[in-house]
Subunit: 442 residues, 2 copies
């Protein structure tokens, strides 16, 4: 009799794990439980559906439930796992108002993340919208189509908040961003975050820092600094792991209550694996467990989990926390540790910051960019990098991410043979200049 | 008495060395000999002056002779070093028709490269132009301004040839490229070169492969396949090291007769150093001496040479052969070893090629890109990478260059934490997909 894999969560990560598992164990029986009506879609694309850049939410769907079924996967949409019993190897599933038990030989937790919804007065008012799932996106679009939405307030100045702010600017709406912290983009050092704030302001976005939201009333956001009129409020505060099911079953959690996993994506429960936004990642630089809700991490973890579920062997190398975004014409990226994260991880580090251009300075279309390296004192190891700049700036973060993964020092980075031609870079790419500047300080 | 450094060549490399040397030895006397009238300019920008993208050749000049003089450097333009005597520590200099001897304590050879000029009949006809120096570029522009230049023939399908072909397409001229080899861009594998040829053809460039130029007559290029009308012929065949002066002085040469240097950029002659297009580089992957005429390599070598000249200590880490270019809307880049280079270096390697997109497939502006990794059999080390694609494709080569420099295997590359957001990349960047595909073959 074939073994049975049950996957909780039908998003891309879960489904990628199934492919990997079946590569090793072709006759594996697979049942995927998905609470919503959608499978395998790019949640990261939702802001661009809202902005209109992507004209149809269906374009975000990589594979529909029917396509998965044609592939021999028993996809059960609108089936929600409500409890699990690792001892018995069984999941309780709620569907159509009734519950049934489903036995498994292997279980993959791929429940994803859940948007932070602070328990504020009025938080459930209909003009307040999250953007975590495709259904959220569709609901937001349908709300915007049927209600006046001139004044949009985005709560949260992180990646999602930024992308939603841009989306509504593209739609021609008046956008205010309320950020609790002293600067937007808390994963950047504050002065680089300030460059992002400045870019938002240049695009007419009203950015209010150190802003404390007290609650909501119909058409109004109540803040410590007074009331704000709003036709629509978008919550972009961040994402927490959707791990309650695992916690209730006694499975060990880690950072931010994400499901703790070993190198093979195994949880503390025999036969139970986890991947994606619901679980923890190992940070290559700090060595700490971290929670990074990002599709590319989820997909890699899922393949590792799937390979191990199928009887193969794979380990997840961990993350360096690479992230990229753009707000109108300004690109933002970061990798490794920020100054504050480096300090928290116990490093003694310093930052070097250079102003450069995205192309040779004399070349048409060259735009300003600011690049920072966070560097360990003494040995000069690169711990982190942050970039804010014009078109072409942010993808430079990949070279930094590889250098950080390889444990390179600024001496090594300063000598990297990076691409040079006037339409692409200066003869000394800002990465090289920053590394050179750091060398002088060692 | 301060020591005297004489630099032969006033291009950016030579001048960068001077700054580095003086950082360590501030009272160093510096005399820089420059054959032309220009110092410290970006030769790589010349095609963009010709195309009109850069409106003034002077914009390529980083520092003029007068600016260097204000900086305490005795810059002697239109002074040519014609002989050197390392035993005596002396250079013979030709200026205004007379020769004088100049003693040195340290000598830096920064003579640069010289464009290949095949000794064909008619090669010195005035409608045949090189594009190596700023003066070449100015002469070309002035020729084009005073002569009809409707039909332009570019001889050579390498980087310079491509960039000049694009330049003349931008100017609205009819362009033919004659390439001796079976494909353009000989530093790519031939089938990726074919993608570049196809891109050129899409832009109306007449590309003639396996084309043998026999000679020139006024208004005519004589080829083995017949005569071609031409108002202007641009030579873009490549660059060889300008090393005759060193060879005549008994200094050891290496690959392609480039001046051989040790890790500190020292030549075989005591007190004589070399940097830039006139000298050899160490290839990190093959371990071989190579000649790579590229401003970014020249500048790095120059800083190393300068540091050592000034009494500091620095070594040049070597190159991985990263190069980037674009032809109209198609970007091209490569790093590491090509399939042929890997074979020549004694590796047993295979290539994986993936078709991807520059952004998430559903995101507006996503363009096709082809990415190839050259991978060592057995261990799976990445030996090389090549990219041809739309806007944003080619700079991915930097991440590959860093991975190759770090000696990463495809297993490591497949797990790299590369940036992901729909406007920048798919959730699986083509680099990751290629590495994953390669893993399956190991």
């Amino acid at each position: 009799m074939p073994r049975r894999l049950v996957v909780i969560g039908g998003d891309a990560g879960g489904m990628a794990a199934i492919s990997a598992a079946r590569l090793h164990e072709p006759d594996l029986e697979v049942i995927a439980l998905e609470r919503s009506a959608h499978t395998s879609y790019s949640a990261c694309g939702i802001p661009y559906v809202v902005s209109g850049a992507v004209d149809d939410p269906d374009r975000l769907v990589v594979r529909s439930p029917d396509q998965h079924r044609a592939n021999g996967i028993d996809v059960r949409i609108q089936h929600e796992a409500v409890a699990l019993d690792p001892e018995a190897g069984s999941v309780s599933v709620l569907a159509d108002g009734a519950t049934y038990d489903l036995g498994y030989d292997a279980l993959l937790l791929a429940m994803g993340g859940k948007p932070v919804r602070p328990p504020l007065p009025g938080i459930d008012l209909p003009f307040i919208r999250g953007v975590q799932t495709l259904e959220d996106g569709e609901a937001l679009l349908s709300y915007a189509a049927t209600h006046p939405c001139e004044r949009v307030v985005v709560v949260g100045g992180g990646y999602i908040g930024l992308e939603m702010a841009e989306a509504f600017v593209q739609r021609g709406q008046r956008v205010t961003v309320l950020e609790q912290g002293a600067e937007v983009m808390g994963t950047l050092d504050p002065d680089l975050g300030a460059l992002v704030t400045a870019a938002m302001q240049r695009h007419g976005i009203d950015v209010r820092l150190s802003s404390e939201v007290k609650g909501f009333e119909p058409g109004t956001v109540v803040t410590a600094a007074g009331n704000l009129d709003a036709d629509l409020v978008v919550l972009g505060i961040g994402v927490l792991p959707n791990s309650r099911l695992a916690a209730d079953a006694g499975i060990v959690l880690g950072a931010k209550d994400a499901v703790r996993v070993d190198r093979r994506q195994g949880t503390s429960a025999e036969g139970v694996w986890a991947a994606g936004d619901c679980c923890e990642s190992h940070h290559i630089v700090s060595g700490d467990g971290v929670h990074i809700a990002l599709g590319t991490v989820a997909n890699k973890q899922a393949r590792v989990a799937g390979t191990n579920i199928g009887g193969g062997y794979a380990t997840f190398a961990g993350v360096v926390g690479t992230a990229i975004s753009k707000i109108c014409d300004t690109e933002v990226s970061r990798t490794g540790l920020s100054s504050r994260e480096a300090e928290r991880a116990g490093f003694s580090a310093f930052a070097v910051t250079v102003e450069g251009t995205t192309r040779a300075g004399y070349f048409p279309g060259a735009e300003a960019m600011t690049l920072r390296l966070i560097v360990e004192r003494g040995g000069g190891r690169v711990l982190g990098a942050q970039i804010v700049g014009g078109a072409g700036a942010a993808m430079r973060v990949n070279a930094c991410a590889v250098a950080i993964t390889a444990g390179m020092t600024v001496e090594q980075v300063a000598q990297l043979d990076l691409a040079y031609a006037p339409p692409f870079a200066s003869v000394w790419d800002p990465i090289l200049v920053a590394a050179r500047d750091a060398l002088k300080r060692i």
